[in-house]
């Protein structure tokens, strides 16, 4: 059998194994965060810690897991420190290759005939890990100690023996020990399934063949990435994106990137980005790498395998002490959202200059809240107001999705049904509708964003996270327009408006909340949008006749399009556009 065939078969089978680990996890885990939101990822690394196969979990986990396996090898790799039956656990972003504290990683060495062949791993967001706020997100944190328990690389199971003391320690540090216990078992179970399947694979293909193929699998991904890079013109492309706050005050927190494409390699340099901030939106090394990979892989498309090989031609420079590589003990739990989104946006903006046709317009940033209180039966509930998800930006060939969540999930999280939420929580949802004239204009327009209105009928605590509220975030690209920012209005049932913070926690009486979520950016010149699509948007009520005329140059009459007037108007408007 030739190497290419063997490599194809083994890559295929290893990907199937990492997916199987995911199915087991999804079906057995306790917390809705796994079954509903897929906030976990399963992956396989080789004996030296290189990622061989990553199942499609949440995109922002992609590629960061290698740092965790490296930490295991650093701490236990020498002198027979890793033996069959071991299972490691870790989380700390400073000490153990973690991305942020709520994501715990289970790492299981796979031995065949006494030889360490691979690691099967599962990184998953826990329901609660102690710290200053229930549910892992403490917007008031100023040090990592406020965010929950920190785990170095530890053996949770040593040579097949569960370490009960460690297990008790973990449960003792969670507000939801029952969920944590079940979820940990699901994680461990999924790595066990992966281990068995890899061992079976070596029976079918022989150990040295499987081990030998790892290089070829990585080389293949590398070749795919290099071809994609080679297709870009050489050059230095710059981009930046920023947050308008550090969780405590209004301040510009800049992520700046210089993308240097040279032949089939790329350097991603964050020099010039803002220093680390007081609040919990600082990135770890692992998370910054993941965000870079999400930006590149989503830009180049699905055909590039998402393993370490694809990352070889990518050099990342993340200055220490900056918001993309914060120094201990900066808090960082929000980093998988922010600054991950700013990192992706900055890179997308830079790459847009290299290949405008491939450019991706900005997805809106989230603005919503989590409310928590007691239901009629007196039980504590926590409700994420997911119906106010922001919109996606456009790419050439498609408009933005109307309401989809942050770009870090690329649409991988499901919004629950209104009917389900009304049965579960003391709320009445009044509206979940597409916004009018909010989408960034373009040949392909951005997603509309959503008008969401809800009444909460009893007293509750609200944790606001309004990243998209004050500055438009769905940037337009290649001539497209920017999507409108989000608005959050909180009022009592009597109608008195309550000033809500951009970030922060408030206790409120029965309340009505209205969110207009951030819209997505457009791609391309709006004057080139197909006239009938503009007319459809007008009929659909997501673009006004005024905007159709002024922005798209389309003249709508009461029953159709005035084509003659449209052509003249488009000509006139085009003459007024700056040359680019």
């Amino acid at each position: 059998m030739t190497d290419a065939i063997l490599t194809t078969l083994l890559q295929n089978q290893l990907d199937h194994i990492s997916k199987q680990m995911g199915w087991v996890m999804e079906r057995t885990a306790r917390s809705p965060i796994f079954s509903e939101s897929h906030d976990f990822s399963c992956f396989i690394a080789d004996a030296s810690g290189r990622l061989i196969s990553v199942a499609d979990g949440i995109p922002i986990h992609t590629g960061g897991g290698g740092f965790a396996v490296d930490a295991v090898l650093r701490d236990y790799g020498a002198d027979g420190g890793i033996v069959p039956g071991d299972v490691f656990i870790l989380s700390d972003p400073y000490e153990a290759g973690g991305n942020h504290l709520p994501d715990w990683t289970i790492i299981r060495p796979v031995f065949v005939d006494g030889v360490l062949l691979a690691f099967t791993c599962n990184r998953a967001h826990q329901s609660d890990i102690g710290g200053g706020a229930a549910g892992t997100y403490n917007a008031a944190a100023t040090e990592i100690f406020h965010e929950g328990i920190r785990l170095p690389v530890m053996k949770l199971i040593g040579a097949g023996q569960v370490r009960d003391d460690v297990w008790r320690l973990l449960k003792l540090n969670s507000r939801t020990p029952h969920l944590l216990d079940g979820d940990l078992r699901a994680m461990i179970g999924s790595t066990k399934v992966g281990e068995r399947r890899i061992q079976t694979l070596t029976e079918e293909f022989k150990l040295d063949v499987v081990a030998g193929c790892f290089d070829a699998i990585l080389d293949h991904a590398e070749a795919c990435m290099r071809r994609a890079l080679l297709a870009l013109p050489d050059g230095l492309y710059e981009g930046e994106d920023s947050s308008d706050n550090d969780c405590f005050q209004t301040v510009d927190v800049l992520v700046r990137v210089a993308v240097t494409v040279k032949g089939d390699e790329v350097k991603i340099d964050f020099t010039g980005s803002a220093p680390q901030i007081a609040g919990f939106k600082n990135s770890s090394v692992a998370n910054t790498h993941s965000a870079v990979y999400v930006a590149l892989l989503s830009y180049f498309g699905v055909t590039i395998p998402r393993n370490s090989g694809a990352f070889r031609p990518v050099e990342i420079i993340a200055p220490r002490g900056s918001v993309v590589n914060a120094n201990y003990p900066a808090p960082m739990t929000a980093n998988t959202g922010h600054p991950a989104i700013e990192i992706i946006n900055a890179i997308w903006k830079a790459l847009a200059k290299a290949a405008p046709d491939l450019a991706c317009a900005g997805w809106g940033k989230g603005s919503s809240c989590v409310s928590s209180g007691k239901n009629a039966a007196g039980e504590t509930y926590v409700m994420y107001h997911m119906h106010a998800y922001p919109a996606a930006g456009a790419v050439r060939g498609r408009d933005g999705f109307p309401s989809i969540g942050g770009v870090i999930s690329l649409g991988g999280m499901r919004i629950p049904n209104v009917e389900v939420f009304e049965r579960k929580y003391p709320v009445r949802i009044h509206r979940q509708e597409m916004r009018c004239d909010a989408a960034g204009a373009g040949e392909y327009r951005g997603g509309t964003g959503i008008d969401y209105e809800v009444s909460v009928s009893s007293r509750a605590s609200y944790s606001f996270r309004g990243e998209g509220s004050f500055t438009p975030s769905g940037f337009g690209i290649s001539g497209g327009g920017t999507g409108k920012k989000a608005d959050v209005v909180v009022s009592t049932h009597a109608g008195a408006e309550i000033a809500a913070p951009q970030y922060g926690v408030m206790e409120l009486p029965p309340t009505r909340i209205s969110v207009s979520s951030a819209a997505g950016g457009g791609w391309g010149n709006p004057l080139r949008r197909q006239v009938d699509l503009v007319f459809r948007d007008v009929r659909d009520g997501v673009v006004s006749t005024t905007a159709a005329r002024e922005v798209y140059g389309v003249v709508c009459t009461s029953d159709g399009i005035d084509y003659v007037a449209t052509e003249a108007l488009r000509h006139e408007l085009a003459g007024r556009q700056p040359e680019n």
Binding site: T2, W23, R185, R197, S298, D399, S403, N417, E422, G541
Partner: protein
Amino acid sequence: MSQIVAPWRIGIDVGGTFTDLVLIDANGVVFPYKSPSEPANPAVGVLRSIEGASQKLGLDVRSLLKGCSHFIHGTTVATNLLLERKGARVGLITTHGFRDTIEIRRGYREFMWDHRTPWQDVLVPRSLRLPVVERMTPDGQVELALDKESVAASADVFRREGVEAVAICLLHAYANDAHERACAEMLAEALPAVYITTSSSLAPIVGEFERCSTTVANAYVAPKLLPYLSELARELRRRGLERDLLLVQSNGGAISLDQIGTRPVALALSGPAAGLASLRHFQQITGNENLISIEIGGTSCDVTVVTNGKVAETDSITVGDALIALPSVEIHTIGTGGGTICGVDAGGLLFVGPQGAGAKPGPACYGFGGKRPTITDAQLILGRLHEGTYAGGSLYLKTELADAALRDAFEGSLGAQVSVAAGAIIQLSNLSIRQAIEKVSLVRGLDPAKYVLVGAGGAGALHVADVARKLGIRRAFIPRLAGVFCAFGMCNADVRHDYVSTIGAPLSADVVATLRQALAELTQQGRQLLLADGFTPDEMDFEVRVDMRYAGQQWPISVSAEDLDPAKLRQQFEAEHERIYASVQPNSAVEVMTARVSAIGHLPVVSPIASQVSNRILAPIANRRAVQLTDETEPRREVPILAGANLQPGHYFVGPAIIEEATTTILVGDGDMIELDAFGNYHIDIALPTSGRNHD
């Protein structure tokens, strides 16, 4: 052709390429007939196949139809309307504030990395999604009365816009359908020619997105599907059919034409779901209640699982972009079929699919202009198929064309040898079939090694033995009528009506009382319909089930609701949870989600006639040719070729061998033992590697 004996049953399955007809007569004599489909007007293809079959049988059409006691039809018309987006102009009525539910699609993209692919347009544009003022609470109380003026205004818009069908989906209508019914009545009066459908009558489940999508899909197919079916029924009647036309639903059960009128979207999987009844028959023949079938045609491989005699079902399917939340046979489809295209990617590795060459141009070896190599081309290169005619002369396979296509695609990539590339293609396609089987079994906590693998469709039998071997499966089964698998099943489809009712409350004695009442009401509805169908009580069965879950879980588990006792129900639920997920949560609350009743009317089973098998005889060899037998690289061997037409019940043979049947080709591996049962079906004892598999 020998004389057939009345009354007989006729099953007709319309596929993209062929229309399959199977007739089973009163003595169990089976007559299969395949003819080309007429995609522009499938009814023409149906009528033509009846004419063709009657000629072959030496009967006139009128006698053929007159002697027919059950005429059962599986149609792809609904599927194609949805896939090709050729349905009706639809209007939608929603609760004020929620007209975009169907366009937001719960913000979920299954293939998230592929964010550049657009969603298809929604089946109903926003300008025809009209909100009405009204509100129900989750427990079915009217919070805001229906504003009739807003309904009347909608009717005006629909009339002006030439809407052909209206879907009505209001919030919490599963709990109280009064407002949906009121809307329907008003609209029916205002728009007498327009088809009207409500979510509460179609799929009264919690979840406005799924309910709305189902209702809109129903409205979308009805105005074209129902006239087609009525016309077909009229034509059949005119030609002599005296019985009602029966249609196969996505749940595998049949329903009469006048009953499908309110829910035509239940025909979305009409064709493939009929395979279910075939599987039921094969359970008896194989003596095994655990079957996995792989039905492989030109474009795809459908995997279906039957465990302990029950086919795996799902509560929703997706056709094109449309989610349809109706109980359906669970068919897991992957893009691995004879026409799947293969090649080498940018990084130098092999790929098989997902693109396919379709019926036209099809595989390169067909000579219809296809230039890219497919799985069929690889089979031909390896000698498993032969140069020459297939499908009764409608195809002529040319090795030279397959060879050129493979050479072009793989030049310089996998070494010079075309046979190496061909072997790799087969290996990779077998791998994807095996992974599909592992997926459907693993998520249900099932071990495929304990099943019989059924190879159906035109190409299933070329893959079944190798796939079984790799999965540790000991027995494979190939129906002699593999190529008309679904039409055969239709002849023995049961009549089935499904009902659901939402409960949605924690398990308690009170809730069980509610559940008991709901099940009794649903059962009564089913009984009345079956009585109207002409079934006697002893021909009826009622499957009563209840969906339960731990509070907080997303996926409920369905258990039998025969024993309505809170403790028993919990026990059953936990036993099932333990079996599937290997865990229980003794301290967690259990919720009762949905009550389900399937009312089944059993048609008397007509079994194919069994031959007397006196003793086992070694099957005759027709000829030999050079075949590369395994999918790994190895020298070709002279392999015995058996002609299916020469084989009789009782014949056996030890592989390697190739058996050429009328509608399929069977690959028998080295050491596999194949034999024909009394019905002429093939059973293979798979020679498993001696080392065995690491079972887990």
